[in-house]
């Protein structure tokens, strides 16, 4: 009986008894969740417009961050390094469209998926070849990201909010608003959504596939850079970061491959839940480090009961 109490009741008692600590945990989880959501958003954009499951999205985050830091290390000032990195991401988008997507158009989904795994490996090799494989420090100060911390005293307790985390959240919110406005208001955004709804139909009304692909991959690159900067500020920049990139995958399982809202809600939910689980269950009972798999198992369980994900519609199979 003891074990049941310890596992099922005690963690909740702890939450109520130390609400300030709970708030801290929730905040940490929220920040991770925001970043998962951002990476997942890049996936969703590309999947919506091209039905490509872009496995390289996570690596693009690291690659963008690495390029930015690498340029700065080689003497390029920050105000120039950012646009240069964006330029690199644009070249990457064009390159991917020319070399990978265009020759493979019309192939089965799985082939394109594997091609993006090839892109992943190439980017890892290329990034390390150019900038070296060692861990780098994000150029937080040069970019003007504040590094202090706010202290709050809720419930007679203590809550620490780092300014760079706050920056990350604000930046993510702005990015999401900009993106949604772009998708809903601009003609290019509408074209992208049209492609997502029906490929053939969109083509037949004269939407150019290759232009859109380049733009979408570039937007995904911009999102990757933003994510890379804020995540790099927390954890340093190296290809070890790819582990967090994989986190976006269970987010997609939960939220559905095509849902912008799903990516955001799924990302936040997974960020918060995995943190809660790690602190209140993982560390005391399982030896910790459960964040590597919790999100995957959670998504798996949800999918067993809702195969279409949280936001997907039920699919009626036809023959």
């Amino acid at each position: 009986m003891e074990i049941f109490y310890d596992v099922l009741i005690d963690p909740f008692v702890q939450m109520v008894e130390a609400p300030d600590f709970l708030l801290q945990v929730l905040w940490e989880g929220l920040v991770s969740g925001v970043l998962y959501a951002l990476i997942a958003l890049g996936f969703v954009l590309i999947f919506k417009s091209s039905r490509i499951f872009n496995f390289a999205q996570g690596i693009m985050v690291v690659f963008a961050a690495l390029t930015l830091v690498g340029l700065h290390e080689n003497g390029v000032p920050a105000w120039l390094a950012v646009p240069l990195t964006l330029g690199v991401m644009y070249v990457l988008a064009v390159g991917v469209e020319r070399v990978v997507l265009r020759p493979l158009v019309g192939q089965p989904d799985i082939i394109l998926f594997m091609a993006t795994i090839g892109v992943t490996l190439f980017l890892i090799g290329f990034g390390e070849f150019v900038f070296g494989g060692e861990n780098k420090v994000m150029i937080t100060e040069a970019l003007g990201i504040p590094t202090g911390a706010f202290e709050f005293y809720p419930f007679d307790g203590f809550l620490l909010i780092e300014q760079k985390d706050l920056t990350a959240v604000i930046m993510a919110v702005l990015l999401v608003i900009a993106l949604i406005t772009f998708l809903n208001r601009s003609s290019m955004g509408r074209a992208i959504r049209a492609l997502g709804d029906d490929h053939q139909a969109a083509l037949s009304v004269g939407i150019s596939l290759s232009t859109i692909w380049v733009i979408v991959w570039f937007i995904a690159g911009v999102i990757a850079l933003a994510t890379g900067v804020v995540w790099g500020a927390r954890a340093g920049v190296s290809f070890a970061l790819e582990v967090i990139a994989y986190k976006a995958l269970p987010v997609l399982m939960l939220g559905g491959l095509e849902s912008v809202a799903g990516a955001i809600v799924g990302g936040l939910a997974i960020g918060i839940l995995e943190k809660l689980f790690e602190i209140y269950w993982g560390q005391p009972f399982l030896g910790g480090n459960t964040e590597t798999w919790f999100a995957f198992i959670l998504a798996l369980l949800v999918l067993l009961f809702r195969p279409q994900g949280l936001f997907g519609e039920r699919i009626i199979e036809r023959v």
Binding site: R314, I316, E317, V319
Partner: protein, 274 residues
């Protein structure tokens, strides 16, 4: 070809000619998808040994009807009696072992496999040898493989597709794919064969070939056939009885000539407002 007609099936065909026996009976079947009604309260039966056509305009619920019969969709209401056994729902893979086989509107073959393998796959439910013997490819596994290969070769001869035995079906022209699909369905040795638009997209010559095969199957193997077809000429020539669907309801049922002159059927096809 004669090899296929076992004395048993021949006597079957003979008895059905004397006293018609119901093979499949549908009673008040209704099917809907989240509020959208695909089939509303339909009843009809199929007699042993006959060729039954199901016709109707696009979206009338014909394919849904076949999907209900072989268990792919589960109807919300109604009773289905096949070979004396009544059921409401059934797992689709069990349809074959009960004696129902079908072909599909958009050819549903295994594109990466050869014609031979596709037809052999139709015998999946009849092959039982254990994984142990399969790994050795010896003893029961090998004997079983050869025994079924003989049966499959008979079907290949019957449908005249010897020359494409080893070709991956994805590379075959459409007409031949339809024929391979029929071969696969025949390999299941069904009591009831469901054909979903077996002649869609075919030219005249291919249609004639296919009609001949359908009649041969019915004649020589004694297989009962239910088919969906849009070509009225074909329907009138092939079928013994016709059931007409429109907007998921049955609007007529009877011999071809009778259905053809039915006013409601004419209206449905010409689009008279209700």
């Amino acid at each position: 070809m004669n090899m296929l007609v076992t004395p048993e099936t021949r006597s079957n065909a003979a008895t059905t000619a004397k006293e018609p026996e119901v093979l499949l009976d549908l009673e008040n079947v209704s099917l809907s998808f989240g509020g959208v009604k695909a089939i509303t309260n339909i009843s009809f039966n199929i007699m042993k040994g006959e060729i039954r056509a199901i016709i109707g305009p696009n979206g009338a619920g014909k394919t849904s009807m076949l999907n209900v019969i072989n268990g792919f969709y589960q109807p919300q209401e109604g009773k289905i009696t096949f070979n004396g056994k009544t059921r409401r729902s059934m797992k689709p893979h069990l349809a074959v072992s009960q004696g129902i086989a079908r072909t599909f509107q958009n050819v549903a073959l295994f594109k990466g496999m050869s014609t031979l393998d596709n037809i052999m796959a139709g015998r999946a439910t009849r092959m039982k040898s254990s994984m142990f013997w399969q790994i050795l490819y010896y003893g029961p596994a090998r004997n079983e493989e050869i025994e079924h290969r003989k049966k499959v070769e008979e079907i290949i001869d019957f449908l005249e597709i010897q020359h494409i035995r080893r070709t991956p079906v994805g590379k075959l022209p459409y007409g031949l794919q339809k024929r391979v699909e029929l071969a696969r369905a025949l390999a299941m040795e069904p009591d009831l064969l469901l054909l979903d638009e077996p002649m869609a997209g075919m030219n005249l010559e291919e249609k004639e070939d296919m009609s001949r095969f359908i009649l041969d199957v019915n004649d020589q193997l004694g297989t009962t056939i239910a088919l969906i077809e849009h070509d009225m000429g074909v329907v009138m020539d092939l079928s013994d009885r016709v059931v007409v669907l429109d907007y998921g309801r049955k609007i007529a049922d009877g011999p071809p000539e009778e259905v053809q002159s039915n006013q409601e059927v004419i209206d449905a096809y010409l689009g008279v407002s209700h």
